[in-house]
Subunit: 383 residues, 4 copies
């Protein structure tokens, strides 16, 4: 069978958890969405050749490169997808953009504010040459949250009074859980703050359409040493949890919590927004649902509605199954890549941009500084 | 990249809803499960050539056939996947089995008991020649229900006292909803009874490991005429809902309801099992969860647990994402096909067999006869 | 402090569970509702004098009688409240009515259809003399169900298609649970059918405003002998569970289940009604909530609403606390008695009448006959 | 009927919302709990004689006093129950204690830290003479929270890592809602902070058995002027919401939010505690339930349990109804008064003491100072 649809060559760096889920999206996106161009899985980048080859075969990539610079340089690579830890994002992304390749970069945009700023500058410069970039905040592509954004944008909530958002995991609850690169500040930049906090800050700014203008924060490391898997122990150099209060540009207030010690909460990213006219609530452990309270309902029939976000009229859903048939985690990446390819095909910038990612980084940076400074109020300059 | 894994050629008949979801599973199963052989999407069958070609391109099939007999005859087709309405199942399945092709057949197995019996006979004969068959009750592959089966089989529930199961949809709630082949007895065999009832009968027999030995039933057609889309009306010749009570081979009792008029319930397949030691409950609208009550818990800490069925130790989950990251509807088909291919690779019969499908059909048939006969108790002979 | 409000003397027979909760309602009703007359707790009837006296002191009754005939005969008793097992209802109620005393009778109205008919005849005769009677189906006074009735009566649900209702308890789940008068047919009349089934039949007829015109039923006794508490065993002579299907006078269908073996369900009386325009659902384990689906909501914002039935505009709520503050089980009895006293004060008949109780009894009787007769369809003559 | 049980004379000041619910508890406590002494409702204090008399008749008080000093002075008053706004608590409580009357004081203990300290000093002095005092944090008497405390105290949660607690109401969501004494700093001391924040701070310290050692806070007034009901507007001089982060004496962290702008949340006091071994969660809108996650459960059967806190073995429940029958809001006051009377009868100090109330006040005071000082970390000296 032949196809008239144009193609685009993808080079992806990194093949762990994020690499697996991105690969699935690249392979399947055009089976469900009428994207143009259609992705070709050109090359997979990984330092260990044997492991990279095994991953390429498993995930469906045509070639492997052990040096990401070589991957960027390939003629058959038009877009570079960065799925590596945060300490490498800036270098790879800037090089790719300078080489004229579009970039999709996993979140958080970078481990430091300086890197995020350099990346944003590079993205804006590349943009002048039609080279586009996007940061991969996949929760924006959960249909329930995309619909929440539409509801806020329509004015249905009125003035935003409150946002309360948490990202709760529990994989560090036991003091016996082993060290990991995610607990090493050099690799990960921060702990729960950057890994989980980035998602809830982005979700807050995305859903409300407002920015976080300042914060007061507290971080804590509950367990300072953990088994390193070889009989010794390793130092945990990042935060185990981060809590912060914030103000929104529209006059509302917000609270944020990111932790890996909420025993029993496996992957619970929750967001509640209270407006003057309506409220909404979301929990990623029930990601096909949106809770919705319409202040205009008759008082005797008012209550939070459990909207099953599976109707064809809901964002992304027309591509999938009949009402009541659920979507899963990886669909958010398929949606993300559908949006990216559609933007490329239409000659538009995809969202969220590196500037959006920088906006998140500014909040995380302010939180880190506040936590280090007696929780004093810290503004997020630039936001 | 080359692969040493053996392949198997798939020919699929039908390319509507079920065809789309089966195609997705055939394309991706080996990316997540270590199946051998690996499927090749050899040929897609569809009567309208243009539509079949469009579907083949979209879903990734290498060729199309407009005659299912030609599809069965192809040398590159080793397994025939039947995704057509129930009135065609028997003819295609029996022909495929006689041609030495393995068969995967969508549920319900057939529209009549006689057809189901003929298919089962053909399957058992083909089996002697190493030709294998399976009926596609995908709910068995929902991890929560697969885990429920394990819990019952382990003895954790003790004696089964009650099963209460419903399959609720609402797409006919309005009298204005149009006619469809699903409302035409000649095509569909029955209405909610066969379409939805088949799932809950199979789920009951699968999870409990028991059979339904007899039933008392009631069916109803609420709206007898519906707009036919061309200005006229069409006669609804099937049931709109079917309710039946049953007894289980182990001494317990069960209730069943299938309807398309449960306004607000989009696709709610629910199953609750009460045993002498524990209880479990499931709802497909929250399909990543299993409710579990352990009668052995201290009375002050006992309560239904909301198990998020997303742990690596849960059925099928090791292939997917970290705990707390949800799966969707189509995963059940990927699991089904993974189980089928694994059985083929290991030279075992896959489950559920056509005989299992026939066992479901006997219950549906008894329900139909009871409903037609003053709800009188009707045994399901053979079960 | 003096009060100008008229009083009414109450005589209550029985002082176990129902006696305790009725006493609480009689003592407190006028503190919250502007009823007239105000109840005086005149006399408590109980066969064992010592136990009756202890109960009277604890519950606040002014006198005791060991013979219910003497209690009826007292000049200071204007109304007789019957809280004894079902086998005594007919005799006491008829005698009280003939003595010109108003009667409140616990459900089920009687253990047999013949007794219920005699009671209804007596009630209708007494009514000509201004003597009034009411049967105590307290679930009608759960604010959520009273509100459900209002919604149906307003036409908001459109045509009723489905009722599905269950009453699940688990106190017999273990085979070691001891014998009780509730398991003895002579005392209790039936098991789960009359005790629990009476509630869900009444709730169905009350909420829908329709009657159950016929049923097909199945009953089962899972454990035939139980320890009698003195080293021996007693025969269980009633049903452990009863399941039945029914048709409603308006053309809809219904399912009913009553059981004491639903492990983990402590007192779960559930009712779901699906109409052509809206649906509602209730569970007594969350009795301050009503689930409500409005088919008129925009499809993207439609979902079951969790209405907290605690607004002043909800039935009975203006008498209690601010929104969001919950009511409990005994409030339903306070409401029941407030309605009764208000009707007496206004010279109206209270509801539900003995005739309503008889209507429930006819359904239970038909269910019993169907279960004994191969589940054959059995009409509820008179309904 | 006579009773041998000793009695105690109660004088209550204030007869609005809190007066109504306290009266109900005083009237009924001995009908359910074997308390000694038994309360006599001696006198009700209220400035407007006509309104006080009406309330006394409605609630069952034997006399009225228009001057609280006269009420304290009555010989038939042994215990003074203070149900007035916070600005009057100190004066009344101190006078009552000095007059040798036991005191029950509604929360918050006082409007200022200085008053709370003076009250605590007075209480400690009175205690030397056998005069006892208690502050009325009724949420401690919600069975689910009392059980939560027992679970933490038993060590079942291990080390406490996180507390997250909110108290959400919505009665100010509309800018049109009128002024009230609760929005006037002179009367109310503070807004959501003192009214709602006091409950969640006490609940945190009660359930964990730890103290909040410091906080960082933010407060906001969204709507500065509101209609005064007479055509003009009134100035809102208190906070509309208060959010704060805290640290616990055992090393954990906590977050607090109190607001009257959470549209759709009528009275949602929520508390989640994550320990190293188990987690628990509570929501007052489902106050008969406790969520419980036991980290020791097998990973495939672990999940938050919905414990229905209605078993006889649960705190306070043996006095009430069978399992699965719910309690309501006012039961918490009946429990509170049962505990108070039992302590008096046994010659013990009831809890929580004024010192406990002062401990809460210190946290609220620190939060107020932090909010006024750039959210800087503020320790709660004395805690």
């Amino acid at each position: 069978m032949s196809t008239a649809r144009e193609t685009i060559g993808i080079g992806m760096v990194g093949h762990a958890f994020m690499g697996a889920v991105h690969s699935h999206a690249w392979r399947n996106v055009h089976r469900f969405f009428p994207v143009a161009p259609i992705p070709r899985l050109a090359a997979l980048g990984g330092r260990d050749e044997a492991r990279a080859k095994a991953a390429a075969e498993r995930f469906g990539w045509a070639a492997v490169e052990t040096d990401w610079r070589a991957l960027i340089a390939r003629d058959d690579v038009d877009l570079v997808d960065i799925c590596t830890p945060g300490d490498t994002h800036a270098e790879i992304a800037i090089a790719a953009l300078e080489a004229g390749k579009h970039v999709l970069c996993e979140k958080p945009l970078a481990n430091t504010l300086a890197e995020a700023e350099a990346m944003t500058t590079a993205a804006e410069k590349a943009r002048e040459n039609g080279v586009r970039s996007m940061v991969a905040f996949n929760y924006r592509r959960v249909p329930a949250l995309a619909h929440a954004r539409k509801l806020v944008a329509s004015g249905a909530l009125g003035r935003i009074r409150h946002v309360r958002t948490v990202y709760l995991q529990d994989w560090l609850s036991s003091s016996d859980s082993p060290m990991s690169w995610r607990l090493d500040k050099d690799k990960a930049g921060s702990g729960a703050l950057g890994d989980l906090g980035a998602h809830i800050v982005d979700a807050t700014q995305f859903v409300t359409g407002e920015t976080v203008t300042g914060v007061s924060a507290l971080t804590e490391t509950f367990v300072g040493e953990r088994p390193d898997g070889s009989g010794g122990t390793g130092q945990v150099t990042v935060d185990d949890c981060a809590l912060f209060l914030g103000r929104l540009s529209g006059g509302g207030v917000a609270s944020f919590e990111a932790t890996r010690y909420a025993l029993g909460r496996k992957n619970s990213m929750r967001l509640e927004v209270n407006g003057s006219k309506a409220s909404l609530a979301f929990d990623s452990e029930s990601m096909n649902e949106l809770s919705w309270f319409d202040g205009g309902d008759p008082v005797t029939e008012a209550g939070f509605r459990r909207i099953l976000v599976t109707e064809p009229a809901h964002p992304y859903l027309a591509a999938w199954w009949p009402p009541g048939h659920l979507l899963g985690y990886e669909h958010t990446f398929t949606h993300e890549i559908a949006d990216l390819l559609t933007a490329l095909g239409e000659g538009r910038d995809p969202a969220p941009s590196f500037a959006d990612g920088l906006g998140v980084q500014r909040v995380l940076d302010a939180a880190g500084r506040s936590a280090a400074g007696q929780s004093r109020w810290t503004t997020t300059e630039g936001n």
